[in-house]
């Protein structure tokens, strides 16, 4: 599984970093960044949870 953030859509709600700190960090402005594009299997469920809770619908998985 791979995970991506659309930087134009992200507005810094920071929900992803709160719900899945294993997979997401925040940049200098507090906007979400993917720590590793390829998601370790053990993190897949928390990443899906972060995707489902992003208000801007800025995160997607492939």
């Amino acid at each position: 599984m791979k995970v991506f953030i659309d930087a134009d859509k992200c507005q810094g709600h920071a929900r992803c970093a709160q719900l899945a700190p294993e997979a997401f960090g925040l940049d200098n402005e507090g906007h979400g960044v993917v720590l590793s594009e390829t998601v370790e299997e053990s993190y897949e469920s928390v990443v899906r949870n972060a995707v489902a809770n992003c208000p801007e619908r800025a995160i997607w998985i492939e």
């Binding site: 709600h13 925040l26 402005e29 507090g30 489902a52 208000p55």
Partner: protein, 426 residues
């Protein structure tokens, strides 16, 4: 929420008001909004109010989200306001601007308000919170709105974010009260001018003083597209930081405590597992967003829910209703702290997402940790009526609670750190 704690149960919901004469500054709005929301969503998701010269009220989650995200169609220019502009009313960057200029201000200010940056304030904030609680903990009764919720964010904002003393808070608070809750009062203009004068003096003091690594200095010395931020722009920016930072967090703390006061089961659950608090907060934010909505001005003809919205029309996007839309949330009328997903819009959505959301989250979390940790139980004082003031802002203005303090409160006074306990069990 038990409706009778805020109004007479015998009062009928005035749907005509919500469908045709919607006005956030009427007491009907403050008393009946939450109960009117299911009918608004179901029967009138795009309402037309005849107040303030006429404006639209949009309620559904999908349309509220789309409206806030589509800043090209729905502009934030100051003409968006449903309350008529007062002479001399300043433009407040970034909230009264559209991208790309709006974005430049956010790039300037956001770094001071990230979760990591505000985390450095936690110890100070906890001390302020504990100090406020100590003032009433032995009394057994408190008006939590006046004695706690409304004191904390002001103190925090001045001392920690602006780096100045908070001796002027009482008079600033009174100006803000008139501006926020009574905008049609003839005195509102004078209050606004007094507040602007106070901000100008504060900024002049900071310009004359040593350089500090904080938001005010970032603003005073900023370079936006090759130009310094002007005096008026700096004043307008500080004005919105104050307007946005004072009342909203206070209202939210009181709203959460109002619900917990009626739900001993939730009090117990959060006391025994404080690690749940940050997640429970999102459900409280969904259920009682402290900003009921914001307006925009339409810049090109469009259609929402079958209604033709014209270039120049003003639209009020009702976050309180969107947060209870069954198309987005299962059983929206149920307060469920385990709800997931929970993509509530309490902090807004799109480029104007609340700039202080991380500060608010920190204040809320630590307030709840300490208020729950230092009480054994609390409830609404029998015979008392909780009161809300009419405003776009939403929260209890009077919150009479009766409580039993926890033995642990004594431990807090002898120098131990109650937050350590909260952490361990999380």
């Amino acid at each position: 929420l038990d409706a009778v704690v805020t109004r007479d149960a015998s009062d009928e919901i005035d749907l005509d008001f919500f469908f045709h004469h919607f006005n956030p500054y009427e007491q009907t709005f403050a008393d009946q909004l939450q109960e009117a929301i299911p009918d608004l969503l179901d029967r009138c998701p795009v309402a037309r109010s005849d107040d303030f010269g006429g404006f639209w009220v949009v309620s559904s989650y999908a349309e509220v989200m789309a409206g806030y995200q589509d800043w090209r169609t729905f502009s934030s220019a100051i003409e968006k306001n449903i309350v008529p502009l007062r002479p001399g009313q300043p433009v407040k960057p970034p909230i009264d601007l559209d991208p790309p200029l709006q974005r430049r201000y956010r790039q300037l200010l956001n770094p001071f308000l990230t979760p990591a940056r505000v985390a450095t304030l936690e110890t100070h904030i906890r001390t302020m919170i504990v100090d406020l609680i100590e003032e009433f903990i032995d009394d057994g009764q408190v008006d939590l709105a006046r004695q706690f919720s409304r004191k904390l964010p002001a103190r925090m904002l001045y001392r920690l974010l602006f780096g100045i003393e908070d001796t002027d808070v009482p008079k600033v608070q009174e100006w803000l009260r008139v501006i926020n809750y009574d905008p049609r009062n003839p005195k509102a203009r004078d209050c606004e001018q007094a507040l602007l004068g106070w901000i100008r003096r504060t900024l002049a003091d900071r310009r004359a003083g040593p350089r500090q690594d904080d938001m005010l200095d970032a603003l005073l010395h900023a370079d936006i597209d090759g130009e310094l931020v002007s005096e008026d722009e700096a004043v307008g920016t500080v004005l919105i930081l104050i307007l946005g930072g004072f009342g909203t967090t206070a209202d939210m703390i009181s709203s959460v405590m109002l619900h917990l006061a009626q739900r001993e089961d939730l009090q117990h659950r959060l006391r025994s597992d404080p690690g749940l608090i940050p997640f429970a907060l999102d459900e409280f934010l969904r259920f009682e967003p402290p900003v009921s909505g914001q307006s925009r001005i339409c810049r090109r003809d469009t259609v929402i829910g079958g209604e033709e919205i014209k270039d120049g029309d003003r639209v009020f996007f009702l976050i309180s209703a969107a947060n209870r839309d069954p198309a987005e949330f299962d059983q929206p009328e149920v307060l469920d702290i385990d709800r997931s997903p929970n993509r509530h819009l309490a902090f807004g959505i799109g480029p104007h997402r609340c700039i202080g959301s991380n500060v608010a989250r920190l204040n809320l979390r630590v307030s709840l940790e300490e208020l729950l940790g230092r009480t054994e139980t609390f409830h609404i004082t029998p015979g008392e009526r909780v009161r809300r003031d009419a405003s776009v802002a939403w929260g209890p203005a009077y919150l009479p609670l009766t409580f039993t303090s926890a033995p642990a409160a004594a431990a807090g006074q002898d120098g131990s750190r109650p937050e350590d306990g909260a952490r361990r069990s999380s």
